[in-house]
Subunit: 158 residues, 2 copies
């Protein structure tokens, strides 16, 4: 069955959140998702939205989504970050992921950004191989650093 | 000699760009910086700026800078990304880096974001140790993926 890829709209957010939660459960971190539908509606659709989504729709159902936002490289200038690309578990292998990925790349190309960037888990060989096949580079000498809310509070109050 | 940390302003950008270029030269990639003063002025000071800077000033000279912008976690919500934190080479060891770092954390705390995130080169043990000492977590199982302008063009035209 065919699907279409289009910009994500307000009524899509409940299903987008379901996809986010489905992925978190698959990664065995179901409780890690604290984002709510209200957050997505506020942050993605306010005057200067914090992100933009593309969704894949099949028979009125949202079966995949990509979430992006701008970043800024001090060497290159504006870039696009691909935060998440999710395809519903029982809809994989139909080209939906690749269609969403291509749509993001087309948007980035149109916007004339200097780079599209994202992160990938080192054990996800299938994803790494796909990214490489599209011309992407995988940088293995950088580590992510994060200060979460709790650590931030402790640091500030020290 | 003492220094102050404050928000970066338009007249600071030439010196901020010098710091960016100094770091690139130090990392043996002097030609990698294609960002211009005009880019920084347009992108950092337009109506919805792409980034925000803090600078360290000593005797009227900009001796350090931190550049940040918002990101969005599909699990947590709004976060702050620390893209760059640079201290002029001959001004290191005076606490300027830590003062800029703390200022960014204070801003993130005030904004009630869910996380501050950045990247660090795996061989930069001094930096990694400092970040850990402040409560940050280093994630070693993620790799950065990047599609640069040239690869993007090739992918789109394929």
């Amino acid at each position: 069955m065919s699907f279409i890829v289009r910009k994500g709209k307000i009524p899509d957010m409940p299903q987008v959140l379901n996809l986010i939660k489905e992925l978190a459960a698959f990664e065995k971190e179901p409780d890690a998702v604290i984002v709510t539908e209200k957050d997505l509606l506020r942050d993605g659709f306010k005057k200067n939205p914090l992100f933009k989504t593309y969704v894949a729709e099949q028979d009125g159902e949202i079966v995949g989504m990509a979430l992006i936002y701008p970043r800024y490289s001090t060497w290159k200038g504006m870039t696009i970050h691909l935060e998440d690309l999710i395809v519903k578990k029982d809809k994989r292998g139909l080209g939906i992921g690749k269609a969403l990925y291509s749509r993001v790349m087309q948007y980035a190309y149109k916007k004339k950004v200097k780079r599209v960037e994202w992160v990938v888990l080192d054990w996800n060989i299938t994803a790494v191989d796909f990214y490489k096949s599209t011309g992407a580079t995988i940088l293995t000498d950088w580590h992510l650093a994060q200060m979460d809310e709790k650590a931030l509070q402790a640091y500030i109050n020290k």
